[in-house]
């Protein structure tokens, strides 16, 4: 297998200076010999190839020091093992049980770049690789970036590992090759725990009935598709209006059927529908549609509004394009790059359009909420397959309206209901199989999580789960183990798991669900999923109302009691119309238009004190939609705030809560027996606050020595304001220039 090119990377001068001398290398080799042969493997995991003397390094500091170790490629992951990382892992604060900090699931690989002779080149799968680059840069879908140098590895090994990594992570494969299959075949599937959680899976009739009952929905559970008799895209069970017959469902194979999502307490409800196939005879489909709409209005006794998403939201390709631009802002190779891109931060952010897409989705969801909440009108969301943006919107609407979905089990049930049972094509959208000819991948589910994060950061006390939970969930999409994210529909899953097993007569495979969090995290780590700011009890809520109201009046910050109630009440249309003409011309109308329809909803909602168990609306004005810093900046060393970040507030609340708990115990104990021995339980709060990074609990891949973040290139052109900058300084005389 020796080839001409393979030596090239080694013989030419290495493109960076290593501080490790050859002598050091020998010592390290010995250590490696002892350790590196024992990678941590999961059941069913097989090592394909490995290479020793691989240098993992960071571009973080100019010295470019690195760690030697072994790079492996298994049927699950790319792993890097070194003596050093093992010692570091004595007490990781937040460890994933499936993955170590230097592990990259194959499905998590986003792009690989090869660096040869200082040239960075994107590696594309499918080509014969006779050469291997001296450096590998692996960008992950969870936004980690790894740098490996193959310069010091044996030529044969280096070549093999390079080919192996490219083959297994960048080339198309069949579903059977996904790690979950070999995992489940080997792991004695003791997943009885799966059912125990409070999460409704929406795989049975009972789950749907329960949900109908909970929301007092006036619809029926249909078993027309039992055993996927009608459609492979639809779940076996779903809910439709009473007037929809099994024949109706059969007619267009489930298309054009209003599927029930959720019922509002007023009686109106949210439905979704896939577009009818285009037929020549318009009359038939029109009549059919009429009947379906009648079916909806009949049961709910309210009018219905149709929302066609294709006309108002970006296409999936645009979503993908936008996200690709956006994530690029966080895949940073070097400190210099960080600071150079920092100068263009706002414009690059706007150019990506990602935040704008988030805003549009939220805005659309608010419109739908408005119909349900204010007009008591049922809403029917229509999309081609009703399994992409339709899922985003129906889920968002339900989160805004129903506090149940803001609890952890409620949120998980919602994802089961709208996304998994709803037939979102996770496999295709995530492109886990790397099949290019398939439908375009698009981060639809991630977009949904982004929208939820916006709501969470704006109304933290309304959610039982934390930001960390959402981040971990977004990471779990790329772990090829969970049935939740591996298939295009429930039928797809059922058949794959059945046929997946070599001996068909035995019971089908049982892939774990992502909701089985204990598979990934121990209890202590899972405690970080809970939002300590969550306001659950209505009693506490009441007290909160009062205070928050008072607080708001203080916005003028004047002494004494001069409070200024904010001018929020009443919106006199006539007067403003006049005003528009007289004073502000077009400017105010620009402000009113985008959310004109929901303006009154916002007004009446803002007039009332905020109730975290009630309706929740997102703020959508420019500054309100923000970047999900935890997810996107957690691996960027330059962006870490040493001892800071929002995690400090969360931590403070946790601390306080446990102090209170201790005090309560203390009170109880003392009042029971008046014994004065004091044993203060140590409150777990992790490392001392001041020693933490803002990315907690996600520690970046290495412990860097802390230095303040000072960009290397501070000089910058302030060309646009040069006329003023050149002006005489502070001591210029008071000549009125403006």
């Amino acid at each position: 297998m020796l080839s001409l090119g393979s030596g090239g990377g080694k013989s030419t001068k290495p493109s960076f200076v290593s501080y490790v001398t050859p002598e050091d290398m020998k010592i390290k080799e010995k250590e490696e010999g002892l350790r590196s042969k024992h990678p941590y493997l999961l059941p069913g995991e097989v090592v394909f190839c490995s290479a020793n003397h691989v240098l993992k390094y960071t571009q973080e500091d100019a010295s470019q020091r690195g760690v030697y170790g072994t790079l492996l490629c298994t049927n699950f992951k790319i792993a890097f093992i070194s003596g050093e990382s093992a010692s570091q892992e004595t007490a990781p604060p937040f460890r994933n049980k499936l993955l170590s900090e230097n592990d990259i699931p194959l499905t998590c690989v986003d792009h690989i770049y090869g660096v040869s002779d200082e040239k960075k080149k994107l590696i594309i799968g499918g080509q014969v690789k006779s050469k291997y680059p001296s450096k590998l840069i692996i960008q992950c879908k969870d936004l980690r970036v790894f740098h490996f140098s193959l310069t010091y590895a044996k030529e044969e090994e280096a070549k093999k590992i390079f080919q192996g990594i490219v083959h297994h992570s960048l080339e198309p494969k069949s579903l059977k090759c996904v790690f979950a299959f070999s995992y489940c075949e080997t792991a004695s599937t003791s997943q009885a725990s799966r059912k125990s959680s409070l999460t409704l899976m929406f795989e049975t009739k009972e789950d749907w009935s329960m949900e109908l009952g909970r929301t007092k929905g006036n619809c029926k559970v249909s078993s027309a598709n039992e055993d996927y008799a009608i459609s492979e895209k639809l779940p076996q069970f779903f809910v439709v209006p009473f007037a929809v017959s099994d024949d109706d469902i059969l007619r267009f194979l489930g298309k054009g059927i209003p599927f029930w999502c959720w019922s509002h307490h007023s009686g109106c409800a949210l439905f979704k529908m896939a577009c009818l196939p285009t037929i020549q005879e318009d009359g038939i489909s029109q009549k059919y549609m009429h009947r379906m709409l009648d079916a909806v209005t009949q049961d709910q006794l309210c009018p219905v509004k149709i929302e066609d998403l294709s006309s108002c939201l970006p296409a999936l390709q645009d979503l993908q394009l936008s996200y690709n631009k956006f994530k690029q802002l966080f895949l940073i190779d070097s400190t210099t790059e960080f600071w150079v891109s920092d100068m263009k931060w706002f414009s690059s952010l706007e150019n990506s359009g990602w935040l704008e897409i988030i805003r549009q989705c939220l805005m659309k969801a608010v419109e739908i909420v408005d119909y349900l909440e204010s007009a008591h009108t049922s809403v029917l969301i229509v999309e081609e397959h009703c399994s992409d943006l339709c899922c985003v919107l129906s889920s968002l609407v339900q989160i805004m309206l129903d506090p149940y979905y803001r609890t952890r089990s409620g949120f998980q049930s919602l994802i089961q209901k709208e996304w998994v049972a709803g037939g979102h094509s996770f496999l295709d959208r995530c492109n886990h199989l790397y099949q290019k000819e398939k439908e375009a991948p698009a981060p639809v589910f991630l977009l949904f999580l982004e929208c939820v994060w916006q709501l969470l950061q704006q109304h933290a006390p309304a959610f039982q789960f934390s930001e960390t939970y959402l981040t971990v969930l977004s990471d779990s999409i790329n772990i090829p183990l969970f049935s939740t994210f591996l298939f295009n529909s429930q039928h797809h899953r059922d058949t794959a798991m059945k046929s997946g097993h070599p001996e068909a007569q035995r019971s089908p495979l049982n892939f774990p669900s992502v909701w089985d969090w204990s598979l990934q995290f121990d209890c202590k780590a899972q405690s970080l999923f809970t939002n300590p700011l969550y306001v659950e009890k209505p009693i506490q809520d009441k007290a909160l109302r009062k205070t928050s109201h008072q607080k708001h009046q203080r916005q003028l910050s004047l002494p004494n009691t001069l409070s200024k109630p904010s001018p929020r009440k009443g919106f006199f249309k006539e007067e403003t119309d006049n005003l528009k003409k007289i004073f502000l011309g077009k400017r105010i109308s620009k402000w009113l238009n985008p959310t004109e329809s929901s303006k009154e909803l916002y007004e009446s909602w803002q007039r009332k004190p905020l109730d975290y168990q009630g309706l929740l609306l997102p703020y959508l004005d420019g500054p309100a939609v923000q970047v999900w810093m935890q997810r996107y900046l957690r691996w960027v060393p330059e962006a870490q705030i040493f001892g800071g970040g929002s995690i400090t507030t969360v931590n403070r609340v946790l601390e306080l809560a446990s102090e209170i708990q201790d005090l309560q115990k203390e009170v109880e104990r003392r009042s029971c027996r008046m014994n004065s021995s004091i044993a203060w339980k140590q409150v777990y709060s992790g490392p001392p606050l001041s020693a933490r990074l803002s990315s907690f609990p996600f520690t970046a891949t290495h412990a860097w020595s802390f230095k303040p973040a000072i960009p290397s290139s501070i000089r910058q052109g302030l060309g646009s304001v040069s006329s003023l900058a050149d002006k005489e300084d502070d001591d210029s005389q008071g000549s009125g220039v403006l």
Partner: protein, 571 residues
């Protein structure tokens, strides 16, 4: 109709009925407009609850009549351009006498200084339980820092403000400096602002000293005494054989200054000194930047272009430059153990911003309410940041190019730090907003005048009240419930635009859609209350137990006076 509420000492000057306030957010509303010698007060009963607009006169930058065509009888319009990011507009009938009167009064009392009237702070007759003028005692503050010591002395050389009229009476200068040498240094520094100590590191003895630019001029003038002076400053710190001079200005501007009297220290004359330019633009650039910021935030926000609009103001970019400069200064002291000299041109604008920010990063004392008050009193007020000129208190000349929002910018930097370290500051956002509101309001004497000398002359401490009297009378209002004392932890905020954010709760607060997100703090405050109640209960039980155990001669007599807050250790 009831009268407008008034402060003690405030008197109504004019009242006009049937004035229309044109609210950009909720539409026009008619009501009664009252003008006092402190504020403008508009109240309308057309809405429920009544609509009230309360604008203190100090905040007014200029008054403009605007034409109103075809709006019924209300044919006259008045726009009130404010310094705090809003422009309320009123419409009224032209002919009526009472209307003319009210706007005459408004013009007169909005700009008392230009109309030979006293600022309202001199009329304000409130009584507070605490005297805020006692907050800052320079000797006590220097003593807290461990001064004087063998190298540094608290000097009274400027006690009559003869040495430098914009410096305070008490200065900390090197002990060894001779009087005649000092005179030469004074002559060599712009506005006589010689290098004086602002802060000393408790361990390394590295210092932050501040001054103005040296008067080098085009002919590269030297001043041996000045060179020796800086050498002395360096020698006072045994840990380092270097001295870093941070010139806040842009290199090019410093060069321009050199062509006309000013300039910067030449590294070849000042041996062992290294000079770094922090490239921060001047006051005019900052004023322009805030003006643009107002344009994009009031009254309407263009959502689609929000980010590029923010970008185009450069406001956050300048905030970033300031924070970065301060981080470099703090790092030089903390990690480099090296003393620094900070100056710009006159040493009362960017210098004050940089030294106070660096001190805030280095010294956790300044992150307490009291400490922050001291920091402002010391670095800004006593060292002669020209508040009267920069803000233009009571002055009608709104085009004065000396006006600039430098202090606002500083407070913004503090807010950015607070966002990055939500648990490191004892004070909350309301504290910062309150300070900014009273920067303009002229209700308190705190920010009036340009220098200590002027303040002494005006007998400010006896004739007006201090803002700190008001704040320290109700500290719980301004306390951050998340506060955890970071002990001696140095805060290094990340000066990256990725972490900087527009301070919406201040700049965009007039927009009712920007509701502040306060409840989280409320939540925590309640927890704090519960905890302190429980703590009381435990203490009670503890006392009971110990009295009982005394009588029963228990083996455990002493139990550590436990604090329920293990993280709270005060320095």
């Amino acid at each position: 109709m009831e009268e407008a509420p008034r402060f003690p000492g405030e008197s109504i000057k004019a009242i006009a009925k049937d004035v229309m306030y044109i609210c950009p957010f909720t539409g026009a509303v008619s009501g009664t407009l009252t003008v006092t010698d402190y504020k403008l007060y508009f109240k309308s009963l057309e809405r429920e609850p009544p609509f009230i607009l309360d604008v203190n006169l100090g905040v007014i930058s200029r008054l403009e009549t605007i034409g109103v065509q075809s709006h019924g009888e209300n044919s006259c319009g008045m726009e009130i351009v404010c310094k705090d990011m809003r422009n309320p507009r009123f419409a009224y009938k032209q002919e009526e006498q009472s209307k003319l009167e009210i706007f005459e009064n408004l013009t007169k009392h909005a700009f008392p200084v230009s109309n030979d009237l006293p600022l309202f702070a001199f009329l304000y007759k409130e009584k507070f339980p605490v005297d805020g003028w006692k907050v800052y005692d320079p000797v006590a503050e220097y003593k807290r820092q461990g001064l004087p010591n063998e190298s540094w002395t608290i000097s009274k050389v400027n006690s009559n403000y003869e040495l430098c009229d914009s410096y305070p009476a008490l200065l900390v200068i090197p002990t060894s400096i001779k009087d005649e040498d000092l005179r030469r240094v004074v002559a060599f520094r712009a506005k006589h602002r010689i290098p004086v100590l602002s802060w000393i590191h408790p361990e390394s003895q590295a210092t932050i000293t501040r001054c103005s630019q040296p008067l080098v001029g085009p002919s590269d003038k030297r001043c041996k005494e000045d060179e020796k002076y800086l050498q002395t400053i360096m020698d006072a710190n045994a840990q380092s054989h270097k001295l870093t001079i941070f010139d806040a200005r842009q290199n090019s501007v410093a060069d321009t200054n050199k062509a006309k009297e000013g300039g910067y220290e030449s590294e070849s004359f000042y041996t062992n000194a290294e000079l770094t330019f922090l490239e921060i633009p001047n006051i005019h650039v900052m004023r322009e930047s805030l003006r643009k910021l107002k344009e994009i935030t009031y009254p309407v926000i263009d959502e689609a272009k929000w980010l590029s609009n923010v970008d185009s103001t450069h406001w956050l970019e300048y905030i970033r430059l300031l924070l970065m400069g301060a981080v470099r200064i703090a790092d030089k002291l903390e990690s480099g153990k090296t003393s620094v000299v900070v100056h710009c041109s006159d040493g009362w604008d960017r210098t004050a911003q940089l030294t106070s920010l660096a001190m805030l990063m280095l010294d956790s004392y300044y992150r307490t309410i009291k400490g922050f008050e001291v920091l402002i009193e010391k670095e800004w007020i006593s060292f002669g940041h020209r508040f009267a000129v920069r803000v233009g208190h009571g002055d009608v000349n709104h085009t004065n190019s000396e006006r600039s929002p430098l202090f606002v910018q500083f407070i913004d930097c503090v807010w950015q730090m607070m966002r990055q370290f939500p648990a490191a500051f004892e004070f909350n956002e309301l504290f910062l907003i309150t300070i900014l509101d009273h920067l303009y309001s002229c209700l308190f004497g705190t920010f009036l005048y340009n220098s200590e000398q002027e303040r002494v002359k005006a007998e400010l401490h006896t004739k007006t009240l201090s803002l700190w009297s008001y704040i320290n009378s109700q500290p719980e209002e301004f306390t951050n419930p998340f506060y955890v004392n970071y002990e001696n932890h140095v805060l290094y905020p990340v000066a990256s635009l990725r972490h900087l954010e527009l301070w919406v709760d201040y700049y965009v607060r007039w927009n009712p859609r920007m509701r502040p997100q306060m409840p989280v703090h409320q939540n925590l405050k309640e927890l704090l209350v519960i905890r302190s109640e429980l703590q009381k209960k435990v203490d009670e039980l503890h006392r009971e137990a110990s009295t009982r155990s005394l009588s029963s001669s228990s083996d455990r007599g002493s139990s550590p006076s436990h604090s329920a807050t293990p993280v709270h250790t005060t320095v």
